[in-house]
Amino acid sequence: MRVLPLLPLLLSGWFVVPAHADEAQDWLKRLGQAEQQHSYQGTFVYERNGSFSTHSIWHLVQDGKVRERLMQLDGPAQEVIRADGRTECVTGKLAPRLGDVSAVAARQFDVQKLNDLYTVAMEGNSRVAGRPVAVISLAPRDQHRYGFELYLDRETGLPIKSLLLNDKGQLLERYQFTTLTTTPPDDSQLSPAAKCQPVAQADAGAKLGSTTQAWHSDWLPSGFEQVSSTVHRDPRTRIEVTSLLYDDGLTRFSVFIEPLQGAAVPDARVQLGPTAAVTRHLSTPQGDMMATVVGEIPMGTAERIALSMRVGKDDAQAKP
């Protein structure tokens, strides 16, 4: 039987293609669990056009709970202490001016949803921060979001390098570890160095819809869902601003709506690295409003969202 030795070869050829596709999915699953499973510490750089900064991170997983400290290494010392996805306290200028940052549950990493929105593919192997990594690409299935190239640590599945790319393949931002060890950080490394201001966790629903009308968008790119909606008074201008936050699992954008009060304001568009900001004038029965969309989404998408903002909770609910 001379055919028999060939058989494994043929069979392996049969299995190679699906295995390759599954590999990317396996890495995606590992990525979704990595932050909850592994303690680590290291330093990373963040770069977008016109900005380059370096940061240290200490990440401890103990009894299923996550505790994390982030510290900026250059410029002003800014720190953030987080526990289980919630920001506990911040130092330096990062302290939110709003007074309240309403609680939003840590987003669920939904592999199925990501597959609906992005084409996930295994790109190969590489090395980042002296560690072997698997490279997977997430190419958007529509033109309403940017693509990612993720470099996942082979040992832990952590994303230790992440590139954001636009539709022309141009690099919009880079996030990349330079050192990473899986030694669990001790308590002293997790406690803040400077005076840490606690972040008030206001209830998301409490301030909603009482005096000011709710807003919704007539059109959203597929996959995006509203994760929070707040109304607050700008401390400086005393104007009530509605702010909405939307999320597709990887990307987030915010919508801010404020009344114009008679001011003549032109529409504007600004691109800051990966972040687009579009301001659009809206005429509503309540008077002229200005809608500002800010997020890591293409400019055209942001513009379309700004133009789709409508007064009222939702079409289904607005009708009696």
Partner: protein, 196 residues
């Protein structure tokens, strides 16, 4: 010649499938008003089928024929040397305008980039307040279409946008970073807005 044969030839001419003989036949029969009516009806049908725009009852052929019949002798065209010089001048001025436009356009880019290089390290709020010059910095990496546009709009009205946009950019970054984000990436984005 039978009516049917002529109509067939007409149809063929219209579909651009007529041979030499058919074309000749149609041209010969074209002085006849009935033939011209048929022709224009075919044109309407064709326009409807192709969803083309058609101006009905526009009989250019007969109008031209009438005009030709009235004209006695063809007027001699006076073509002096100035005429060609004039044409040359027009062509030259168009060229100059195009070149100037391209140059101005490029200069805009160059000025923007130079300004961006002169101010490499600036916080978000500072350049916004300083006005249009540094805004070139922001649109530097943006698409060609959006870049100059953002420039222009913001140059025109510095007030409101300067006050609000930096605040909104920061608020978005903070919201994204502080509200239950998994990875440190949104935090890094927020920090990069606060830097310098």
């Amino acid at each position: 010649m039978s009516r049917e044969a002529l109509q067939e030839s007409l149809s063929a001419v219209m579909d651009n499938e007529a041979d030499e003989l058919e074309l000749r036949r149609v041209l010969n029969a074209f002085d006849d008003t009935q033939t011209r009516d048929t022709w224009s009806r075919y044109q309407v049908a064709r326009a409807v089928m192709h969803k083309d725009l058609l101006i009905p009852r526009l009989d250019i052929a007969s109008a031209v024929s009438a005009a030709l019949a009235e004209e006695q002798t063809p007027a001699k065209v006076v073509r002096g040397p100035w005429r060609s010089i004039g044409r040359l001048a027009v062509a030259a001025s168009v060229t100059v305008a195009v070149l100037a436009g391209v140059r101005l356009y490029n200069q805009d880019d160059i000025v923007g980039n130079q300004l961006a290089q002169q101010n490499p390290a600036q916080s978000l709020s500072a350049p916004m307040a300083k006005g249009p010059a540094v805004l070139a910095n922001y649109s530097e990496n943006a698409d060609q279409a959006t870049g100059p546009m953002a420039n222009g709009v913001l140059q025109g009205q510095p007030g409101w946008q300067d006050q609000r946009l930096p605040g909104y950019l920061r608020q978005h970054a903070e919201q994204a970073a502080l509200k239950g984000a998994e990875s440190p990436l949104p935090y890094a984005r927020a920090a990069s807005l606060e830097n310098r």
